[in-house]
């Protein structure tokens, strides 16, 4: 059996870490008895279950996935590396930045400017983005969003910056 899958190690360790953290936090809550359970009872059970799964994933060493892949006749050689560090940074960075920008800007700047900013940042997640089409798209979507959400659906969102 091939072990083309290399994600089992970080996944299993993450499960263990998350389970341990959850159990540690939950240890502050009253456990109670089985008849009258306290708020800490179920969290400990769930954490133990997650811990067990983490152990099993580490024990299986990726064979749980490799077996499925082999069944489906996938060529293990075409398996992409577990984490392609550089191909992904740009989209992740730009998309997450645009979401955070939305959160920061929507209250002070209003929908029109915020949408413009979000689209402008978001477009650069794409490797082949160019400035002029990006500006046009941002402008168009900004106008579209204001029309759709505020005029048609009448959401309670301010359109323009508030100067107070």
């Amino acid at each position: 059996m091939t072990t083309a899958d290399r994600t089992w190690r970080p996944l299993g360790i993450s499960c263990l870490a998350l389970a341990a953290a959850a159990a540690w936090i939950a240890s502050d809550y009253a456990v109670g008895t089985v008849t009258a359970m306290g708020p800490g009872f179920i969290p400990l059970v769930v954490a133990a279950f997650l811990f067990l799964m983490g152990v099993l994933i580490l024990v299986a060493r990726g064979n749980d996935v490799a077996a499925e892949d082999a069944d489906e006749g996938e060529d293990p050689a075409t398996e992409p590396p577990a984490l392609a560090p550089f191909g992904a940074i740009r989209p992740i960075g730009a998309i997450l930045a645009s979401i955070v920008a939305f959160g920061l800007a929507i209250k002070p700047l209003g929908l029109a400017l915020t949408t413009f900013l979000v689209v402008l940042i978001g477009v650069y997640a794409n490797r082949s983005a160019r400035l002029v089409p990006a500006l046009l798209l941002a402008l168009g979507l900004s106008a579209g969003a204001c029309l759709l959400f505020v005029t048609l659906l009448s959401l309670q969102i301010g359109l323009f910056p508030r100067f107070e």
Partner: protein, 503 residues
């Protein structure tokens, strides 16, 4: 007497469903569903997640009608691109490519589209009747359920969705554990203790549902698509030809439609089933039953009719466990549960008695929706093919803006927006580590209910776990759960999973 209540129910349903507002939203849902069905890379799960907040402004009936329309509408749209472009718009239309596109190459694309549409319509009609017939029966049975039965039923739902879904069982179980953990965040209903809130005021009511699903499905999808630099090339559509199947084609397709519908009806009911598995199983069964002369894969109308009828029937009947048991059987149904909870409706057997408008209205709207889809799809097929020219580089900023405004509009909370970014990142990581988001969302929805039922059952039984085996219904459900778990290791289940998802 039973028949009368059924007729009265359906009459009430149609009365609700033909209300101009509801008709409009049913139409909108079907339209959006067809659109995303046509567009590859944008599936019903992500779309329903993104549009979920928008529907909270509507009445519960209109909101659910819209979301349901998106789900079954996507099954129609997905077949169009499969047949004409050899490009399955939806996972559930993957097998339709084989014979559908072969028919297009022979100049019978129009006939294939018509067979798919009429087959889906037939399946949708039967599915609607099936729900109307069996939902009242099931709901009566469920009223006998106590806390123990509910707990075991939900555990069964979770386990079954793992066994029957795609991918590694271990990882799906781990995702269930994480989903349950997420479900625990917030104030404990019994003691008032804050759990896993990290001193945050916003988390006292628990993790919000909409940022979770939009992050895991919508944002994560965008990240993955951009990393792979996926940009659907404008492909050349095959000639559509006459929309009327010949007599031989009809004769070949009709029994396949009936068999596909039957398979879809039952597979749709299973947790983890629904449209996707129905179409795969229906194709392989049809191939075994009617591929006498080796015509499958070369443009056999039966190879189009069976999976397309099955995926539509499956899409319909997967609503049955939700409406009667309150048990979401797949990710889309988990989203529907979320939509109901946003409106303050608890899914389950009491919907039918407490909210007959909602229950029967939704069922009747499904039949009307299927009728609309026939109109939307066949004459307008040319327009849908044009939609494929939209490039992903334009599409994803639109998705991004709609998602963000939608999340923000639920509570006007920027905290929800930041959470979405975090869950988007989590969804991306899960994809890299080959973990499916659906079990996590299912567990997140069911977890808090399961905890309540479990604690109540223990209270009633004075901490004696034997309550779960002493009550007959609970014991039966427990045995089914155990059998499913045991089946994971058994070779024939493995091969069934393999066959169902082989492509």
């Amino acid at each position: 007497m039973f028949d009368q209540s059924l007729l009265a129910g359906l009459a009430l349903g149609f009365q609700v469903a033909v209300d101009p507002t509801n008709i409009l939203f049913c139409f909108l849902g079907c339209l959006i569903g067809t659109l995303i069905g046509v567009l590859p890379g944008l599936g019903p799960t992500a779309t329903i997640a993104i549009l979920l907040p928008m529907t909270s402004a509507l009445s519960p009936v209109a909101g659910l009608i819209t979301l349901a329309g998106i789900y079954y509408g996507a099954q129609y749209g997905g077949s169009t691109t499969s047949i004409l472009l050899r490009l399955p718009g939806e996972a559930s239309s993957v097998v339709t490519v084989l014979d559908g596109h072969a028919m297009t190459r022979r100049g019978r694309g129009g006939a294939a589209l018509a067979i798919a549409a009429w087959g889906s319509f037939f399946a949708g009609t039967v599915g609607t009747l099936f729900i109307a017939l069996f939902a009242p029966l099931l709901a009566v049975l469920v009223l006998k359920f106590g806390a123990a039965e509910y707990f075991v039923l939900m555990a069964l739902g979770l386990v079954a969705s793992v066994v029957l879904a795609q991918g590694s069982v271990l990882r799906a179980l781990a995702m269930i554990a994480i989903g349950l953990l997420f479900g625990l965040v917030g104030t404990d209903a019994n003691s008032g203790q804050y759990r896993f809130t990290f001193g945050s005021y916003e988390l006292l009511n628990g993790l919000p549902f909409v940022p979770l699903v939009v992050g895991l499905f919508g944002i994560a999808d965008i990240l993955i698509a951009l990393e792979q630099a996926r940009d659907a090339e404008a492909s050349q559509a095959g000639k559509i030809g006459s929309l009327w199947p010949t007599r031989e084609e009809t004769k070949r397709a009709a029994p396949a439609v009936a068999r596909g519908t039957l398979i879809g009806l039952f597979l749709g009911l299973l947790p983890g089933g629904g449209a996707l598995m129905s179409s795969f199983v229906a194709y392989s069964v049809e191939k075994r039953v009617s591929d006498k002369e080796g015509t499958f894969g070369k443009g056999d109308p039966a190879g189009v009719a069976a999976p397309e009828s099955a995926n539509n029937a499956g899409a319909q009947t997967s609503f049955l466990p939700l409406l009667t048991l309150g048990l979401p059987s797949n990710a889309v149904m988990a989203l529907m549960t979320g939509a109901m909870l946003i409106h303050g409706i608890v899914p389950g057997p009491r919907i039918m008695t407490n909210q007959p408008n909602l229950f029967w209205g939704l069922i009747a709207s499904m039949w009307i929706g299927n009728l609309m889809l026939l109109v939307i799809n066949l004459p307008l097929v040319g327009i849908w093919v044009q939609m494929l020219k939209i490039r992903y580089s334009v599409l994803y900023p639109i998705i991004l803006v709609v998602s963000l405004v939608g999340i923000y509009s639920v509570d006007y909370s920027t905290f929800d927006v930041f959470l979405t970014a975090a869950f988007g990142l989590l969804g991306y990581g899960m994809n890299k580590w080959k973990c499916e988001p659906a079990p996590l969302v299912l567990a997140f929805v069911l977890g808090p209910m399961m905890e309540q039922y479990f604690r109540r059952a223990m209270l009633v039984a004075r901490g004696d776990l034997a309550i779960f085996v002493e009550r007959p219904i609970s014991l039966t459900l427990l045995l089914i759960t155990a059998a499913l778990l045991a089946g994971i290791a058994a070779p024939h289940v493995r091969s069934f999973r393999r066959k169902a998802f082989a492509e």
